[in-house]
Amino acid sequence: MSAAASAGSIPSRNRTVLLLVGGLALALVPLAALAGDRFWLNILVYTYLFAGLSVAWNIIAGFGGQFSFGHAVFFGTGAYAAAVLQARFGWNAWATLPVALALGAAVGAFIGALSFRYGLRGSYFALVTLAFAEVFRILANSVKFTGGGVGLLIPLKSSALDFQFQGKAGFLYVILVLTLAGFLLSWWLERSRYGAWLTAVRDNEDSAAALGVDVFRVKLQAIVISAGLMAAGGAFYVQYFHYIDPHIAYGPAVSVEALLGPIVGGLGTVFGPLLGAAALKLLGELTRNLMGDAPGVSLMIYGAVLIAMVTFLPRGIAGLFRRFARAA
Protein backbone atom coordinates (compact mmCIF):
# COMPACT_ATOMS: atom_id res chain seq x y z
CA MET A 1 0.00 0.00 0.00
CA SER A 2 3.04 2.24 0.04
CA ALA A 3 2.06 3.28 -3.46
CA ALA A 4 -1.02 5.09 -2.30
CA ALA A 5 0.81 6.44 0.70
CA SER A 6 3.48 8.31 -1.15
CA ALA A 7 1.41 9.14 -4.21
CA GLY A 8 2.08 12.82 -3.81
CA SER A 9 5.85 12.71 -3.71
CA ILE A 10 7.11 10.19 -6.24
CA PRO A 11 7.46 10.91 -9.94
CA SER A 12 4.57 9.57 -11.95
CA ARG A 13 6.40 6.75 -13.71
CA ASN A 14 7.59 5.22 -10.44
CA ARG A 15 4.10 5.68 -9.15
CA THR A 16 2.66 3.69 -12.01
CA VAL A 17 5.13 0.87 -11.41
CA LEU A 18 4.42 0.90 -7.69
CA LEU A 19 0.70 0.81 -8.31
CA LEU A 20 1.04 -2.15 -10.61
CA VAL A 21 3.24 -3.99 -8.15
CA GLY A 22 0.76 -3.18 -5.41
CA GLY A 23 -2.08 -4.52 -7.52
CA LEU A 24 -0.16 -7.68 -8.28
CA ALA A 25 0.74 -8.20 -4.65
CA LEU A 26 -2.91 -7.80 -3.83
CA ALA A 27 -3.69 -10.49 -6.35
CA LEU A 28 -1.06 -12.82 -4.94
CA VAL A 29 -2.08 -12.63 -1.30
CA PRO A 30 -4.91 -15.14 -1.65
CA LEU A 31 -2.74 -17.62 -3.49
CA ALA A 32 -0.90 -18.24 -0.26
CA ALA A 33 -4.15 -19.16 1.40
CA LEU A 34 -5.10 -21.50 -1.37
CA ALA A 35 -3.67 -24.41 0.53
CA GLY A 36 -7.24 -25.55 0.71
CA ASP A 37 -8.52 -24.10 3.92
CA ARG A 38 -12.23 -23.70 3.29
CA PHE A 39 -12.76 -21.29 6.13
CA TRP A 40 -10.22 -18.79 4.86
CA LEU A 41 -11.20 -19.31 1.29
CA ASN A 42 -14.76 -18.36 2.15
CA ILE A 43 -13.64 -15.24 3.99
CA LEU A 44 -11.40 -14.25 1.12
CA VAL A 45 -14.16 -14.66 -1.44
CA TYR A 46 -16.49 -12.47 0.58
CA THR A 47 -13.75 -9.93 1.22
CA TYR A 48 -13.08 -9.59 -2.48
CA LEU A 49 -16.78 -9.41 -3.26
CA PHE A 50 -17.14 -6.71 -0.61
CA ALA A 51 -14.12 -4.92 -2.10
CA GLY A 52 -15.58 -5.18 -5.58
CA LEU A 53 -18.90 -3.68 -4.51
CA SER A 54 -17.01 -0.95 -2.66
CA VAL A 55 -15.01 -0.14 -5.76
CA ALA A 56 -18.25 0.04 -7.74
CA TRP A 57 -19.94 2.41 -5.29
CA ASN A 58 -16.78 4.50 -5.07
CA ILE A 59 -16.97 5.29 -8.78
CA ILE A 60 -20.28 7.14 -8.65
CA ALA A 61 -20.04 8.36 -5.04
CA GLY A 62 -16.33 8.79 -4.39
CA PHE A 63 -15.29 10.10 -7.78
CA GLY A 64 -18.66 11.43 -8.90
CA GLY A 65 -20.00 12.78 -5.60
CA GLN A 66 -23.43 11.20 -6.06
CA PHE A 67 -24.15 9.34 -2.85
CA SER A 68 -26.37 6.39 -3.52
CA PHE A 69 -27.98 4.64 -0.57
CA GLY A 70 -29.59 2.02 -2.75
CA HIS A 71 -26.85 0.36 -4.70
CA ALA A 72 -28.47 -2.96 -3.85
CA VAL A 73 -30.87 -2.20 -6.69
CA PHE A 74 -28.08 -2.92 -9.17
CA PHE A 75 -26.64 -5.81 -7.20
CA GLY A 76 -30.05 -7.43 -6.91
CA THR A 77 -30.87 -6.91 -10.56
CA GLY A 78 -27.65 -8.64 -11.55
CA ALA A 79 -28.29 -11.43 -9.08
CA TYR A 80 -31.85 -12.03 -10.24
CA ALA A 81 -30.92 -11.81 -13.91
CA ALA A 82 -28.37 -14.57 -13.42
CA ALA A 83 -30.67 -16.67 -11.21
CA VAL A 84 -33.81 -16.37 -13.33
CA LEU A 85 -32.02 -17.10 -16.59
CA GLN A 86 -30.51 -20.25 -15.11
CA ALA A 87 -33.41 -21.53 -13.06
CA ARG A 88 -36.23 -20.66 -15.44
CA PHE A 89 -34.62 -20.70 -18.86
CA GLY A 90 -31.79 -23.13 -18.39
CA TRP A 91 -29.05 -20.74 -19.50
CA ASN A 92 -25.42 -21.48 -19.01
CA ALA A 93 -24.19 -19.54 -15.98
CA TRP A 94 -21.33 -17.86 -17.80
CA ALA A 95 -23.72 -16.60 -20.45
CA THR A 96 -25.88 -14.95 -17.81
CA LEU A 97 -22.96 -12.83 -16.59
CA PRO A 98 -22.91 -10.30 -19.46
CA VAL A 99 -26.71 -10.16 -19.46
CA ALA A 100 -26.74 -9.48 -15.71
CA LEU A 101 -24.13 -6.77 -16.16
CA ALA A 102 -26.03 -5.16 -19.01
CA LEU A 103 -29.34 -5.29 -17.15
CA GLY A 104 -27.80 -3.73 -14.05
CA ALA A 105 -26.24 -1.02 -16.19
CA ALA A 106 -29.60 -0.41 -17.84
CA VAL A 107 -31.29 0.04 -14.47
CA GLY A 108 -28.44 2.41 -13.58
CA ALA A 109 -29.05 4.37 -16.76
CA PHE A 110 -32.75 4.58 -16.00
CA ILE A 111 -32.37 5.74 -12.38
CA GLY A 112 -29.51 8.03 -13.35
CA ALA A 113 -31.35 9.62 -16.26
CA LEU A 114 -34.40 10.20 -14.12
CA SER A 115 -32.56 11.68 -11.13
CA PHE A 116 -29.93 13.67 -12.97
CA ARG A 117 -32.36 15.07 -15.54
CA TYR A 118 -34.31 16.59 -12.70
CA GLY A 119 -31.19 17.76 -10.95
CA LEU A 120 -31.53 15.62 -7.85
CA ARG A 121 -28.42 15.91 -5.71
CA GLY A 122 -27.21 15.09 -2.25
CA SER A 123 -29.77 13.63 0.10
CA TYR A 124 -32.50 13.72 -2.56
CA PHE A 125 -30.51 11.49 -4.84
CA ALA A 126 -29.69 9.22 -1.90
CA LEU A 127 -33.37 8.91 -1.04
CA VAL A 128 -34.40 8.19 -4.61
CA THR A 129 -31.90 5.37 -4.91
CA LEU A 130 -33.02 4.00 -1.56
CA ALA A 131 -36.63 4.13 -2.72
CA PHE A 132 -35.82 2.33 -5.97
CA ALA A 133 -34.08 -0.46 -4.08
CA GLU A 134 -37.15 -0.86 -1.88
CA VAL A 135 -39.51 -0.85 -4.84
CA PHE A 136 -37.45 -3.52 -6.54
CA ARG A 137 -37.40 -5.55 -3.33
CA ILE A 138 -41.18 -5.43 -3.08
CA LEU A 139 -41.55 -6.26 -6.76
CA ALA A 140 -39.23 -9.23 -6.44
CA ASN A 141 -41.27 -10.32 -3.46
CA SER A 142 -44.54 -10.14 -5.37
CA VAL A 143 -43.99 -11.43 -8.88
CA LYS A 144 -43.87 -15.08 -9.76
CA PHE A 145 -40.84 -15.50 -11.95
CA THR A 146 -38.46 -14.39 -9.18
CA GLY A 147 -39.89 -17.02 -6.89
CA GLY A 148 -41.42 -14.37 -4.67
CA GLY A 149 -40.48 -14.36 -1.03
CA VAL A 150 -39.35 -17.98 -1.22
CA GLY A 151 -36.49 -17.00 -3.46
CA LEU A 152 -34.74 -18.90 -6.21
CA LEU A 153 -32.32 -21.79 -6.07
CA ILE A 154 -30.08 -22.16 -9.05
CA PRO A 155 -29.53 -25.68 -10.35
CA LEU A 156 -26.50 -27.36 -8.84
CA LYS A 157 -23.84 -28.36 -11.29
CA SER A 158 -20.23 -29.14 -10.72
CA SER A 159 -18.06 -28.02 -13.58
CA ALA A 160 -16.13 -24.87 -14.27
CA LEU A 161 -17.98 -24.70 -17.56
CA ASP A 162 -21.10 -24.00 -15.54
CA PHE A 163 -19.42 -21.39 -13.37
CA GLN A 164 -19.44 -23.71 -10.37
CA PHE A 165 -16.20 -24.88 -8.85
CA GLN A 166 -15.93 -27.90 -6.66
CA GLY A 167 -12.86 -26.74 -4.75
CA LYS A 168 -14.36 -23.26 -4.41
CA ALA A 169 -10.93 -21.86 -5.31
CA GLY A 170 -12.25 -21.09 -8.78
CA PHE A 171 -14.69 -18.63 -7.28
CA LEU A 172 -11.81 -16.77 -5.72
CA TYR A 173 -10.12 -16.35 -9.09
CA VAL A 174 -13.31 -15.09 -10.71
CA ILE A 175 -14.06 -12.53 -8.03
CA LEU A 176 -10.41 -11.52 -8.06
CA VAL A 177 -10.64 -10.76 -11.76
CA LEU A 178 -13.90 -8.84 -11.30
CA THR A 179 -12.52 -6.77 -8.44
CA LEU A 180 -9.27 -6.17 -10.23
CA ALA A 181 -11.21 -4.95 -13.26
CA GLY A 182 -13.02 -2.45 -11.03
CA PHE A 183 -9.75 -1.46 -9.45
CA LEU A 184 -8.09 -0.85 -12.82
CA LEU A 185 -11.12 1.18 -13.88
CA SER A 186 -10.71 3.45 -10.84
CA TRP A 187 -7.01 3.63 -11.51
CA TRP A 188 -7.75 4.76 -15.06
CA LEU A 189 -10.25 7.30 -13.71
CA GLU A 190 -7.48 9.01 -11.77
CA ARG A 191 -5.44 9.66 -14.87
CA SER A 192 -7.91 10.24 -17.65
CA ARG A 193 -9.95 13.07 -19.06
CA TYR A 194 -13.16 11.35 -18.10
CA GLY A 195 -11.99 11.01 -14.51
CA ALA A 196 -10.99 14.68 -14.41
CA TRP A 197 -14.46 15.62 -15.64
CA LEU A 198 -16.14 13.35 -13.13
CA THR A 199 -14.27 14.78 -10.15
CA ALA A 200 -14.87 18.29 -11.48
CA VAL A 201 -18.60 17.57 -11.53
CA ARG A 202 -18.36 16.23 -7.98
CA ASP A 203 -16.62 19.37 -6.73
CA ASN A 204 -18.70 21.96 -8.55
CA GLU A 205 -21.29 21.30 -11.23
CA ASP A 206 -21.66 24.89 -12.39
CA SER A 207 -17.95 25.41 -12.79
CA ALA A 208 -17.65 22.15 -14.65
CA ALA A 209 -20.46 23.12 -17.04
CA ALA A 210 -18.86 26.50 -17.65
CA LEU A 211 -15.66 24.70 -18.63
CA GLY A 212 -17.43 22.65 -21.27
CA VAL A 213 -18.21 19.52 -19.25
CA ASP A 214 -21.50 17.83 -20.11
CA VAL A 215 -22.51 17.32 -16.48
CA PHE A 216 -25.55 15.15 -17.15
CA ARG A 217 -23.72 12.82 -19.44
CA VAL A 218 -20.69 12.45 -17.20
CA LYS A 219 -22.87 11.55 -14.21
CA LEU A 220 -24.93 9.15 -16.28
CA GLN A 221 -21.87 7.33 -17.55
CA ALA A 222 -20.53 7.03 -14.02
CA ILE A 223 -23.70 5.50 -12.64
CA VAL A 224 -23.90 3.08 -15.57
CA ILE A 225 -20.33 1.88 -14.95
CA SER A 226 -20.95 1.64 -11.23
CA ALA A 227 -24.24 -0.20 -11.70
CA GLY A 228 -22.71 -2.63 -14.17
CA LEU A 229 -19.99 -3.57 -11.70
CA MET A 230 -22.52 -3.96 -8.90
CA ALA A 231 -24.64 -6.23 -11.10
CA ALA A 232 -21.64 -8.36 -11.98
CA GLY A 233 -21.05 -8.69 -8.24
CA GLY A 234 -24.66 -9.75 -7.82
CA ALA A 235 -24.38 -12.39 -10.52
CA PHE A 236 -21.24 -13.71 -8.90
CA TYR A 237 -22.93 -13.83 -5.52
CA VAL A 238 -25.76 -16.00 -6.84
CA GLN A 239 -23.26 -18.35 -8.36
CA TYR A 240 -21.37 -18.69 -5.11
CA PHE A 241 -24.34 -18.86 -2.77
CA HIS A 242 -26.64 -20.84 -5.12
CA TYR A 243 -29.63 -18.96 -3.82
CA ILE A 244 -31.20 -15.53 -3.91
CA ASP A 245 -34.23 -13.96 -2.27
CA PRO A 246 -35.61 -10.41 -2.33
CA HIS A 247 -34.09 -9.47 0.98
CA ILE A 248 -30.57 -10.60 0.12
CA ALA A 249 -30.79 -9.08 -3.34
CA TYR A 250 -32.45 -5.73 -2.70
CA GLY A 251 -32.27 -5.34 1.07
CA PRO A 252 -30.30 -2.49 2.64
CA ALA A 253 -27.43 -4.74 3.77
CA VAL A 254 -25.70 -4.73 0.40
CA SER A 255 -26.26 -0.99 -0.10
CA VAL A 256 -24.67 -0.27 3.26
CA GLU A 257 -21.82 -2.69 2.70
CA ALA A 258 -20.98 -1.08 -0.64
CA LEU A 259 -20.70 2.37 0.90
CA LEU A 260 -18.90 1.37 4.11
CA GLY A 261 -15.78 0.19 2.30
CA PRO A 262 -15.01 3.48 0.54
CA ILE A 263 -16.08 5.64 3.48
CA VAL A 264 -13.82 3.79 5.88
CA GLY A 265 -11.06 3.30 3.35
CA GLY A 266 -11.03 6.68 1.67
CA LEU A 267 -13.63 8.19 -0.65
CA GLY A 268 -12.64 8.89 -4.21
CA THR A 269 -9.29 7.13 -3.94
CA VAL A 270 -8.12 4.12 -5.90
CA PHE A 271 -7.00 2.04 -2.93
CA GLY A 272 -9.50 3.30 -0.38
CA PRO A 273 -12.37 0.90 -1.13
CA LEU A 274 -9.99 -2.08 -1.09
CA LEU A 275 -8.39 -1.04 2.18
CA GLY A 276 -11.74 -0.28 3.75
CA ALA A 277 -13.29 -3.55 2.63
CA ALA A 278 -10.33 -5.58 3.84
CA ALA A 279 -10.18 -3.78 7.20
CA LEU A 280 -13.90 -4.08 7.83
CA LYS A 281 -14.08 -7.73 6.85
CA LEU A 282 -11.14 -8.50 9.09
CA LEU A 283 -12.72 -6.57 11.92
CA GLY A 284 -16.04 -8.29 11.39
CA GLU A 285 -14.50 -11.77 11.44
CA LEU A 286 -12.36 -10.95 14.44
CA THR A 287 -15.19 -9.64 16.57
CA ARG A 288 -17.41 -12.51 15.52
CA ASN A 289 -14.81 -15.10 16.46
CA LEU A 290 -13.80 -13.46 19.69
CA MET A 291 -17.26 -12.56 20.86
CA GLY A 292 -19.20 -15.27 19.12
CA ASP A 293 -20.73 -16.50 22.36
CA ALA A 294 -22.39 -13.25 23.30
CA PRO A 295 -24.82 -12.40 20.50
CA GLY A 296 -24.84 -8.74 19.47
CA VAL A 297 -21.57 -7.81 21.17
CA SER A 298 -19.61 -8.31 17.97
CA LEU A 299 -21.94 -5.94 16.14
CA MET A 300 -21.62 -3.37 18.91
CA ILE A 301 -17.84 -3.45 18.71
CA TYR A 302 -18.05 -3.29 14.93
CA GLY A 303 -20.30 -0.23 15.20
CA ALA A 304 -18.08 1.46 17.77
CA VAL A 305 -14.99 1.00 15.61
CA LEU A 306 -16.91 2.39 12.62
CA ILE A 307 -17.89 5.50 14.55
CA ALA A 308 -14.34 5.96 15.79
CA MET A 309 -12.96 5.61 12.28
CA VAL A 310 -15.35 8.11 10.74
CA THR A 311 -14.70 10.54 13.60
CA PHE A 312 -10.94 10.34 13.68
CA LEU A 313 -10.21 9.40 10.09
CA PRO A 314 -12.61 11.45 8.00
CA ARG A 315 -10.48 10.85 4.93
CA GLY A 316 -10.32 7.15 5.53
CA ILE A 317 -7.43 4.77 5.82
CA ALA A 318 -5.98 6.05 2.56
CA GLY A 319 -5.96 9.53 4.09
CA LEU A 320 -4.02 8.18 7.06
CA PHE A 321 -1.36 6.75 4.75
CA ARG A 322 -1.13 10.05 2.98
CA ARG A 323 -0.70 11.91 6.24
CA PHE A 324 2.16 9.63 7.24
CA ALA A 325 3.76 10.08 3.88
CA ARG A 326 3.64 13.83 4.23
CA ALA A 327 5.07 13.72 7.75
CA ALA A 328 7.92 11.46 6.69
Binding site: A196, T199, D203, N204, S207, A208, A210, L211, G212
Partner: protein, 249 residues
Protein backbone atom coordinates in the same frame (compact mmCIF):
# COMPACT_ATOMS: atom_id res chain seq x y z
CA UNK B 1 -19.13 38.83 -31.93
CA UNK B 2 -21.79 38.43 -29.25
CA UNK B 3 -25.16 40.02 -29.56
CA UNK B 4 -28.08 39.94 -27.16
CA UNK B 5 -31.36 41.23 -28.60
CA UNK B 6 -34.27 42.31 -26.41
CA UNK B 7 -33.51 39.76 -23.74
CA UNK B 8 -35.93 39.47 -20.81
CA UNK B 9 -36.22 37.14 -17.87
CA UNK B 10 -38.40 37.27 -14.77
CA UNK B 11 -38.26 35.40 -11.50
CA UNK B 12 -41.76 35.36 -10.11
CA UNK B 13 -42.92 38.97 -10.34
CA UNK B 14 -39.43 40.40 -10.60
CA UNK B 15 -38.19 41.41 -14.02
CA UNK B 16 -34.50 40.72 -13.49
CA UNK B 17 -33.56 41.55 -17.06
CA UNK B 18 -35.98 43.64 -19.05
CA UNK B 19 -35.63 44.00 -22.81
CA UNK B 20 -31.86 44.40 -22.70
CA UNK B 21 -29.80 44.50 -25.87
CA UNK B 22 -26.06 44.39 -25.91
CA UNK B 23 -23.37 43.91 -28.52
CA UNK B 24 -19.78 42.94 -27.88
CA UNK B 25 -17.45 43.80 -30.76
CA UNK B 26 -14.69 41.27 -31.52
CA UNK B 27 -11.32 42.10 -30.04
CA UNK B 28 -12.65 44.52 -27.45
CA UNK B 29 -12.79 44.67 -23.70
CA UNK B 30 -16.41 45.53 -23.07
CA UNK B 31 -17.65 46.15 -19.57
CA UNK B 32 -21.05 45.91 -17.99
CA UNK B 33 -21.65 48.07 -14.94
CA UNK B 34 -24.62 48.92 -12.79
CA UNK B 35 -25.72 49.08 -9.17
CA UNK B 36 -26.17 45.96 -7.06
CA UNK B 37 -29.18 43.95 -8.15
CA UNK B 38 -29.30 45.56 -11.56
CA UNK B 39 -29.36 42.18 -13.28
CA UNK B 40 -25.79 42.01 -14.51
CA UNK B 41 -25.04 38.50 -13.31
CA UNK B 42 -28.46 37.37 -14.48
CA UNK B 43 -27.69 38.70 -17.94
CA UNK B 44 -24.39 36.83 -17.79
CA UNK B 45 -26.28 33.70 -16.88
CA UNK B 46 -28.43 34.12 -19.98
CA UNK B 47 -25.49 34.82 -22.27
CA UNK B 48 -23.55 31.78 -21.06
CA UNK B 49 -26.49 29.38 -21.15
CA UNK B 50 -27.09 28.92 -17.44
CA UNK B 51 -30.46 30.65 -17.71
CA UNK B 52 -32.95 30.57 -20.51
CA UNK B 53 -34.50 33.95 -21.30
CA UNK B 54 -38.28 34.38 -21.41
CA UNK B 55 -37.93 36.51 -24.49
CA UNK B 56 -35.24 37.73 -26.83
CA UNK B 57 -32.28 36.01 -28.38
CA UNK B 58 -28.54 35.67 -28.03
CA UNK B 59 -26.25 35.07 -30.94
CA UNK B 60 -22.58 34.24 -30.82
CA UNK B 61 -20.37 34.31 -33.90
CA UNK B 62 -23.50 34.60 -36.00
CA UNK B 63 -25.07 31.49 -34.49
CA UNK B 64 -28.19 31.52 -32.34
CA UNK B 65 -27.23 30.20 -28.92
CA UNK B 66 -30.36 31.14 -26.97
CA UNK B 67 -31.06 28.50 -24.36
CA UNK B 68 -28.14 26.33 -25.45
CA UNK B 69 -26.58 24.36 -22.56
CA UNK B 70 -23.49 25.96 -20.98
CA UNK B 71 -21.12 23.19 -22.02
CA UNK B 72 -22.23 23.54 -25.63
CA UNK B 73 -21.72 27.28 -25.55
CA UNK B 74 -18.30 26.69 -24.03
CA UNK B 75 -17.44 24.35 -26.88
CA UNK B 76 -18.37 27.09 -29.34
CA UNK B 77 -15.79 29.32 -27.68
CA UNK B 78 -17.56 31.34 -24.98
CA UNK B 79 -16.67 30.72 -21.34
CA UNK B 80 -17.60 32.46 -18.13
CA UNK B 81 -16.15 32.87 -14.66
CA UNK B 82 -18.20 33.17 -11.50
CA UNK B 83 -18.49 36.13 -9.18
CA UNK B 84 -17.98 33.89 -6.17
CA UNK B 85 -14.94 31.91 -7.21
CA UNK B 86 -15.92 28.26 -7.38
CA UNK B 87 -12.76 26.19 -7.45
CA UNK B 88 -12.71 22.40 -7.38
CA UNK B 89 -11.60 22.75 -3.79
CA UNK B 90 -9.98 19.39 -3.16
CA UNK B 91 -7.89 19.47 -6.30
CA UNK B 92 -4.62 21.23 -6.92
CA UNK B 93 -4.36 24.40 -8.96
CA UNK B 94 -2.85 22.41 -11.79
CA UNK B 95 -5.71 19.89 -11.77
CA UNK B 96 -8.26 22.69 -11.63
CA UNK B 97 -6.88 24.37 -14.71
CA UNK B 98 -6.49 21.03 -16.49
CA UNK B 99 -10.27 20.53 -16.37
CA UNK B 100 -10.51 23.51 -18.73
CA UNK B 101 -7.59 22.25 -20.80
CA UNK B 102 -9.32 18.93 -21.31
CA UNK B 103 -11.87 20.61 -23.56
CA UNK B 104 -9.31 20.40 -26.33
CA UNK B 105 -6.77 17.97 -24.88
CA UNK B 106 -7.89 14.38 -24.55
CA UNK B 107 -4.62 13.21 -23.00
CA UNK B 108 -4.12 13.77 -19.30
CA UNK B 109 -0.45 14.57 -19.70
CA UNK B 110 -1.06 17.11 -22.45
CA UNK B 111 -3.80 18.77 -20.40
CA UNK B 112 -1.58 19.06 -17.33
CA UNK B 113 1.20 20.56 -19.44
CA UNK B 114 -1.24 22.97 -21.03
CA UNK B 115 -2.47 23.92 -17.57
CA UNK B 116 1.06 24.90 -16.62
CA UNK B 117 1.39 27.21 -19.57
CA UNK B 118 -1.93 28.83 -18.69
CA UNK B 119 -0.86 29.27 -15.05
CA UNK B 120 2.16 31.15 -16.31
CA UNK B 121 -0.08 33.58 -18.18
CA UNK B 122 -2.12 34.51 -15.12
CA UNK B 123 0.70 34.39 -12.61
CA UNK B 124 -0.15 31.17 -10.79
CA UNK B 125 3.02 29.28 -11.69
CA UNK B 126 4.29 29.24 -8.15
CA UNK B 127 1.15 27.64 -6.78
CA UNK B 128 0.51 24.82 -9.21
CA UNK B 129 0.67 22.07 -6.61
CA UNK B 130 -1.31 23.87 -3.94
CA UNK B 131 -4.82 22.61 -3.18
CA UNK B 132 -7.26 25.18 -4.56
CA UNK B 133 -8.87 25.60 -1.15
CA UNK B 134 -5.62 27.03 0.22
CA UNK B 135 -5.58 29.94 -2.24
CA UNK B 136 -6.25 33.51 -1.16
CA UNK B 137 -9.19 35.41 -2.64
CA UNK B 138 -6.88 36.94 -5.20
CA UNK B 139 -5.47 33.52 -5.99
CA UNK B 140 -8.95 32.09 -6.46
CA UNK B 141 -9.87 34.88 -8.85
CA UNK B 142 -6.77 34.13 -10.86
CA UNK B 143 -7.69 30.46 -10.84
CA UNK B 144 -11.19 31.27 -12.17
CA UNK B 145 -9.55 33.21 -14.95
CA UNK B 146 -6.99 30.48 -15.64
CA UNK B 147 -9.56 27.70 -15.84
CA UNK B 148 -11.71 29.67 -18.23
CA UNK B 149 -8.70 30.61 -20.31
CA UNK B 150 -7.63 26.97 -20.49
CA UNK B 151 -10.70 26.19 -22.63
CA UNK B 152 -9.14 28.51 -25.23
CA UNK B 153 -12.20 30.70 -25.61
CA UNK B 154 -12.82 33.29 -28.26
CA UNK B 155 -14.95 35.26 -25.83
CA UNK B 156 -14.42 35.39 -22.09
CA UNK B 157 -17.15 36.54 -19.73
CA UNK B 158 -15.63 37.74 -16.47
CA UNK B 159 -18.02 38.20 -13.57
CA UNK B 160 -16.33 40.60 -11.14
CA UNK B 161 -12.85 39.15 -11.24
CA UNK B 162 -11.57 42.25 -9.47
CA UNK B 163 -14.16 42.39 -6.69
CA UNK B 164 -12.74 41.75 -3.25
CA UNK B 165 -9.20 42.53 -4.30
CA UNK B 166 -7.16 45.29 -2.68
CA UNK B 167 -5.85 48.13 -4.89
CA UNK B 168 -2.47 46.47 -5.16
CA UNK B 169 -4.04 43.23 -6.36
CA UNK B 170 -6.30 45.10 -8.78
CA UNK B 171 -3.33 46.79 -10.37
CA UNK B 172 -1.63 43.42 -10.67
CA UNK B 173 -4.64 41.83 -12.28
CA UNK B 174 -5.44 44.54 -14.82
CA UNK B 175 -2.42 43.86 -17.05
CA UNK B 176 -3.32 40.17 -17.02
CA UNK B 177 -6.76 40.95 -18.42
CA UNK B 178 -5.29 43.30 -20.99
CA UNK B 179 -2.78 40.69 -22.10
CA UNK B 180 -5.59 38.19 -22.54
CA UNK B 181 -7.32 40.61 -24.87
CA UNK B 182 -4.04 41.26 -26.69
CA UNK B 183 -3.69 37.52 -27.27
CA UNK B 184 -6.88 37.68 -29.32
CA UNK B 185 -9.59 36.86 -26.77
CA UNK B 186 -12.55 39.20 -26.64
CA UNK B 187 -13.54 40.11 -23.10
CA UNK B 188 -16.89 41.05 -21.58
CA UNK B 189 -16.59 41.93 -17.92
CA UNK B 190 -18.95 42.81 -15.13
CA UNK B 191 -17.10 45.13 -12.84
CA UNK B 192 -17.65 47.34 -9.85
CA UNK B 193 -14.14 48.70 -9.60
CA UNK B 194 -14.64 51.87 -11.66
CA UNK B 195 -10.97 52.62 -11.95
CA UNK B 196 -10.48 49.30 -13.69
CA UNK B 197 -13.50 49.85 -15.95
CA UNK B 198 -12.12 53.20 -17.05
CA UNK B 199 -8.63 51.82 -17.56
CA UNK B 200 -9.42 48.57 -19.24
CA UNK B 201 -12.54 48.80 -21.30
CA UNK B 202 -13.21 50.64 -24.51
CA UNK B 203 -16.91 50.13 -24.40
CA UNK B 204 -19.31 49.94 -21.50
CA UNK B 205 -22.97 49.27 -20.93
CA UNK B 206 -24.93 50.30 -17.85
CA UNK B 207 -27.66 48.10 -16.50
CA UNK B 208 -30.24 49.34 -14.01
CA UNK B 209 -33.36 47.52 -12.87
CA UNK B 210 -32.77 45.02 -15.64
CA UNK B 211 -32.69 47.65 -18.38
CA UNK B 212 -29.74 48.85 -20.37
CA UNK B 213 -29.87 52.59 -19.68
CA UNK B 214 -26.67 53.76 -21.33
CA UNK B 215 -23.93 52.54 -23.60
CA UNK B 216 -20.73 54.04 -24.92
CA UNK B 217 -17.22 55.02 -23.91
CA UNK B 218 -16.70 54.63 -20.15
CA UNK B 219 -15.79 58.28 -19.72
CA UNK B 220 -18.97 59.45 -21.46
CA UNK B 221 -21.21 56.94 -19.79
CA UNK B 222 -20.18 57.93 -16.29
CA UNK B 223 -21.19 61.51 -17.05
CA UNK B 224 -24.61 60.47 -18.24
CA UNK B 225 -27.23 61.85 -15.82
CA UNK B 226 -29.30 58.65 -16.01
CA UNK B 227 -26.27 56.65 -14.92
CA UNK B 228 -25.49 58.95 -12.04
CA UNK B 229 -29.09 58.76 -10.88
CA UNK B 230 -29.04 54.99 -11.11
CA UNK B 231 -26.17 54.89 -8.69
CA UNK B 232 -26.93 57.83 -6.43
CA UNK B 233 -30.71 58.19 -6.58
CA UNK B 234 -33.26 60.40 -8.30
CA UNK B 235 -32.22 64.02 -8.60
CA UNK B 236 -28.61 63.27 -7.79
CA UNK B 237 -27.37 64.43 -11.19
CA UNK B 238 -29.13 67.72 -10.77
CA UNK B 239 -27.75 68.25 -7.28
CA UNK B 240 -24.25 67.33 -8.36
CA UNK B 241 -24.42 69.85 -11.20
CA UNK B 242 -25.71 72.71 -9.08
CA UNK B 243 -23.28 72.02 -6.26
CA UNK B 244 -20.55 71.88 -8.89
CA UNK B 245 -21.69 75.26 -10.26
CA UNK B 246 -21.77 76.80 -6.81
CA UNK B 247 -18.28 75.57 -6.15
CA UNK B 248 -17.14 77.17 -9.38
CA UNK B 249 -18.87 80.43 -8.49
Amino acid sequence: MLEARHVSISFGGLKAVDDASLAVPAGSITSLIGPNGAGKSTLFGILSGFLEPDAGSVSFLGQDVTGLAPHRICRLGMTRTFQLAQPFAGQTVRENIAVGSHLHQAQRKAALAHAESIALRVGLSGQLDKPARDLTIAGRKRLELARALATEPKLLLLDEVLAGLNPQEVSEMSPVIRSIRDSGVTVLMIEHVMQAVMNLSEHTGVLNNGQLIAEGKPADVTRDPRVIEAYLGRGAAERLRTSGNEAHA
